[in-house]
Symmetry: C2
């Protein structure tokens, strides 16, 4: 029954992560019933982002400026770079406000299964940033998966020759983690990396 | 850290039903990473709907044409009108494809608590549709709530004088409903409206 325009909008929304056909319909209904307060603002917001969308030529972040807000923020520590797999990881880390430096987005992880090789990631660009100088520390913040860690090791080896400190995120118990419920891999990591009680 | 444009888009999306701040962020990330396949299509779909959005002057449905697709569909039975509280109810009933007639959206329900009086709903417009003739049956499809049923009774009384059949949706056990889990109100309705086994 719905008009083709409304159908198309429902379909476009239902492809967003977290929205299925049912919730997309509810969202469309919400939008069409609230033109001034919901539909128009969303439309203007999308237009603004679509108009300016850019991939940062330095770090690979997606933003509305190039260089991105992080790379052009002079209050941030330009001497340390946190290397992540995806833009999503960059956003997650940045949201935590725990890392004061810059980032580098690899655009994926090495994967024999998916045929992702080093040249498919932005590893060379990372090496060029290090070569250009002014970098003290590279923080490898790959996912704690087999592929993430393989990528981490590979990059660590490639960086070895440069006079920078290479670190990686600690692995162990997550905050609030109960031993009883944790997988053996995490327990093994936590045990292996145990530290003296302060 | 995110640019103001991206922040604004995240906020606009997070106001949709079913999306919180977290899933809105994920949706934005999805959009900005897939410009051609996600962001642009959604933008065009929103534009198309925003451009044509209209409230049907006959039934109150929201659509991209006036009269709406249902009121202008000559294959539908124009002799029966299903009266609903909200556009959402119309869409839900229409999706089921079980009702072949037209609709009438009241725009709410009578509510002493919220100060909604008969003149705040489109009851007069419904009476004019009936007065205009050519209507055999009015199906009252209000919600099975106290306010919905009050509205239903009120409208039934107002229609009494017209030569139309007035019906309402059956109340009873929902499909798959287990007696053990149903509320007393539903059980009482089901018992009161019990029917001879065919």
């Amino acid at each position: 029954m719905a008009s083709p325009e409304i159908d198309t909008l429902t379909q476009a929304l239902s492809r967003l992560p977290g929205l299925g056909p049912r919730s997309a319909r509810r969202a469309v209904l919400h939008l069409v019933k609230r033109r001034e307060t919901a539909l128009d603002p969303l439309l203007r917001a999308l237009e603004a982002v679509a108009e300016k969308l850019a991939t940062c030529s330095i770090c690979g972040n997606v933003d509305t400026t190039d260089p991105c807000g992080i790379c052009s923020d002079t209050r941030r520590d330009s001497r340390s770079i946190c290397v992540v797999e995806e833009v999503a990881d960059l956003w997650a880390l940045d949201r935590s406000r725990l890392f004061p430096g810059r980032f580098h987005v690899l655009g994926g992880r090495l994967s024999a299964l998916d045929g992702v090789r080093p040249e498919d990631l932005t590893i060379d660009a990372l090496l060029r940033r290090i070569e250009a100088g002014g970098i003290d520390e590279i923080v490898l913040a790959m996912n704690a998966t087999l592929e993430g860690q393989t990528t981490s090791h590979y990059i660590a080896e490639r960086i070895e020759a440069f006079p920078v400190r290479v670190t990686q995120l600690a692995h162990g118990l997550p905050v609030g983690g109960e031993l009883d419920y944790l997988d053996e891999g995490t327990l093994a990591q936590a045990l292996r990396a145990r530290r003296p009680v302060a």
